[in-house]
């Protein structure tokens, strides 16, 4: 072979060789992270904690992402999954177009785009709005060998996790906790019954009747041996529980929070968002949206001079709110601020308490008290940050901090956000759209005229 044919052949071979080496290099790099993340909060680099979780995986994990073809988040989600796989060969992932493959979506119980299914060793967790913290938490949950148990006390008219009634029931909360990999069971502590040894968390969800002294003693014993208790207490209910909580330096007010500014649109005056999320506690710091409460009472931590209890306020109502001492407010559903009777906000509506113990083999007991139980009922739990609040509280009480502790980076005011005035916006328009192009045109005109008149 000679002449042009030989040249064409050489050209074809060289082109294929170059393209092939490019594909090969890309394939080799597909499993290695060689990158520099220049974003201020290193948003595209896995956190050290995430790397530890992935490096210590004992089972294979499969992630299926259900995305819509034109979703702008796709590139970011796929990049996150790629970073996970690059750290651990035990992780594999696939992306399914939910519109093109609705059967696969139904098979996994997924009905919305942006959902992720994480599977391992026969266990599965489905969640939406994928992010690194949620994904790592899901992997942790489905790869854990033990399943922790949450007990709901049922003797005093509390909301039941078995009840699917829209207003009274908490069956949705039970499903949410099952998704966090907890086994939810009812519990009776009546007449000397004790809290089972396998209890990770005990929940009192809105008791109506008073809790008997013997039962309170059972709960106190449980906390003293390192137990964890979540109390959701509605206004004007279970007064002796208020005294019991006082012994843990938690002051539950005989009041109702009123906030006309943050009330639910078209709702009653006592149903409001709680915008003050404390950054000092993982339960509230990890919330992406404020919770929505209906008929809440104040719950505050009273400073402990003996330092036996460490407490933090989790949630506060807005500065426009107040604690109302109006005894008829719950029935009337409306009230106005009265000097002397009412106290201006913001008002703490949830606290966490850690009991300090001197005994080495006894872990510190944990307590969370929320001044409302409606937020977790079947009707309200799907609103705003309610489900996250319940899940975070249970995870923190169960010492599963990694499930709530991996939080998004705090915003840096003035760096991550920006605001421009109308005048600055107009200046941007004139600068970019008029002045700069005009400079190029004027220079071009000068050059053109000089060439024309100077030859």
């Amino acid at each position: 072979m000679n002449g042009p044919w030989r040249q064409w052949l050489q050209l074809a071979v060289a082109s294929i060789g170059l393209a092939g080496s490019m594909a090969m290099t890309e394939a080799i790099l597909a499993r290695h992270v060689l990158r520099v993340d220049l974003t201020p909060d290193r948003a595209y680099t896995l956190a050290q904690h995430s790397r530890q979780v992935l490096e210590n995986l004992r089972h294979d994990v499969r992630v299926v992402a259900f995305l819509r073809a034109d979703d702008p988040r796709n590139h970011e989600i796929e990049d996150l999954l790629w970073r996970l796989r690059a750290v651990s060969s035990r992780v594999s992932y696939s992306v399914v177009d939910i519109n093109r493959n609705p059967m696969a979506a139904r098979q996994f119980g997924v009905n919305a785009d942006g959902a992720l299914v994480v599977e391992s060793d026969g266990r599965r967790k489905v969640f939406s709005n994928p992010s690194e913290p949620l994904l790592i938490a899901a992997i942790l949950q489905i790869t854990r060998s033990d399943k922790k148990r949450v007990y709901f006390v049922t003797d005093h008219g509390e909301r039941s996790p078995q009840d699917s009634d829209r207003q009274r029931g908490m069956s949705t909360a039970r499903a949410a906790l099952a998704g966090e990999f907890y086994d939810v069971q009812p519990l009776s502590v009546l007449a000397g019954g004790s809290v089972p040894a396998d209890a990770s968390v005990v929940i009192l969800a809105g008791p109506h009747a008073d809790v008997l002294p013997a039962e309170l003693q059972t709960l106190a014993d449980y906390l003293a041996r390192g137990g964890a208790l979540l109390v959701m207490l509605d206004p004007q209910q279970a007064p002796n529980l208020v005294a019991f909580l006082r012994s843990y330096h938690v002051a539950v007010g005989d009041d109702v929070i009123v906030d006309p500014e943050n009330r639910l649109f078209a709702g009653d005056v006592l149903t409001m968002t709680i915008p003050g999320l404390s950054p000092r506690q993982p339960v509230s710091a990890a919330l992406k949206a404020p919770p929505l409460f209906a008929q809440a009472r104040s719950v505050e931590f009273v400073a402990d001079t003996e330092a036996r209890f460490g407490g933090v306020s989790l949630l506060e109502s807005s500065p426009a709110s107040w604690r109302s001492g109006d005894p008829d407010v719950l029935h009337a559903g409306t009230t106005t601020y009265v000097d002397g009777r009412d106290v201006r906000g913001p008002v703490s509506v949830a606290v966490s308490v850690v009991m300090r113990s001197n005994a080495r083999d006894v872990p510190p007991g944990r307590l969370i008290v929320v001044g409302d139980s409606d937020f977790a009922n079947n009707f309200f739990i799907e609103y705003l940050g309610n489900k996250d609040l319940l899940a975070n509280a249970v995870n923190w009480l169960a010492h599963e901090e990694e499930l709530v502790g991996v939080r998004p980076q705090q915003q840096q005011p003035g760096v991550n956000q920006f605001f421009v005035s109308a005048r600055q916006g107009r200046a941007a328009f004139w600068l970019g759209t008029v002045v700069q192009p005009a400079v190029f045109l004027v220079v071009g005109m000068v050059v053109f005229l000089r060439r024309r008149f100077t030859g």
């Binding site: 002449g3 042009p4 040249q7 050209l11 060289a14 082109s15 170059l18 080496s21 490019m22 594909a23 290099t25 890309e26 790099l29 290695h32 060689l34 990158r35 520099v36 993340d37 220049l38 974003t39 201020p40 948003a43 595209y44 073809a69 034109d70 590139h75 990049d79 696939s94 992306v95 399914v96 177009d97 093109r100 915003q411 003035g414 760096v415 991550n416 956000q417 920006f418 605001f419 421009v420 600055q424 916006g425 200046a427 941007a428 328009f429 600068l431 970019g432 759209t433 008029v434 700069q436 192009p437 005009a438 190029f440 045109l441 220079v443 071009g444 005109m445 050059v447 053109f448 060439r451």
Partner: protein
């Protein structure tokens, strides 16, 4: 004639041509308009969330209102004349008779056009400069985005130079370059028509998917290598196209 002399000649030909100033004015006008509209959009709809990074991502890489799209439209106008004009005027024969290697000719033309690209991109720095006057700006991710724009532009030049080497008609060169680059842009827009494995390969080939990572503020070896390969591949083809005149006899 050396590389430097040829480079100077090429650069001068840009700066004395009205075409460059019209292209630069249109480029900066469109970029300025998109900057303004994106800015207002993000300020109005992004209140209180972490959006500054997203703003730059949308302004640098987001289709269709971004610098990358404007670059896609104007670069073929700058590359169309590089070799096609020489062929049309017959000066290519003269150029090839100089004691210059083909790669020197290619390097001079490529570098001259890359310098013009730098001028255009430098003009767009007025936007972050303006915003930095209003509030503190994280420059590091923005520089990564501009590195991405530079690679994108260099890839456009490599592709445009190759097409210009194949034809003597500048309009054909511009349209063909635009067509190829647009194809690169929409390579991953065809989810409905392809299977997921094919789509994954297309995503690896998509210039804009690689650029997007850089525009986010992440310098990834895969993206850099992709652009280096893309540019090398088209420059290699351009060299072969120049060489082929000798063995094809025309």
């Amino acid at each position: 004639m050396s590389f430097l002399a040829l480079f100077r000649k090429e650069l001068r030909s840009y700066f004395v041509s009205p075409l460059f100033y019209v292209v630069a004015a249109v480029f900066s006008c469109l970029c300025g308009f998109f900057f303004y509209t994106r800015l207002i959009f993000f300020v109005e709809y992004g209140f209180g969330v972490n959006i500054l990074g997203n703003f730059w991502l949308a302004f640098l890489a987001g289709a269709p209102y971004s610098i990358s799209m404007v670059l896609l439209l104007v670069m073929p106008l700058l590359t169309m004349r590089l070799l096609a004009e020489e062929k049309k005027l017959g000066t290519i024969e003269l150029l090839l008779t100089y004691p210059l290697r083909d790669r020197t000719i290619l390097a001079a033309k490529y570098t001259a056009c890359a310098s013009i690209l730098l001028v255009l991109l430098a003009g767009t720095l007025v936007y972050p400069a303006y915003l930095s006057v209003l509030q503190p700006l994280p420059w590091a991710p923005l520089l990564s985005g501009y590195l991405g724009l530079l690679f994108l532009g260099l890839s456009f030049i490599a592709c445009g130079l190759f097409i210009s080497a194949l034809t003597e008609n500048q309009v054909v060169a511009a349209i063909a370059t635009l067509g190829i680059l647009l194809l690169c842009f929409v390579l991953t827009w065809n989810e409905a028509a392809t299977s997921p494995p094919v789509l994954r390969v297309l995503a690896q080939m998509s210039m804009f998917d690689h650029f997007e990572t850089l525009a986010r503020g992440v310098i990834d070896a895969r993206d850099i290598l992709y652009f280096v390969f893309f540019i090398s591949f088209f420059n290699f083809l351009t060299l072969r196209a120049l060489e082929s005149r000798t063995w094809r006899g025309r």
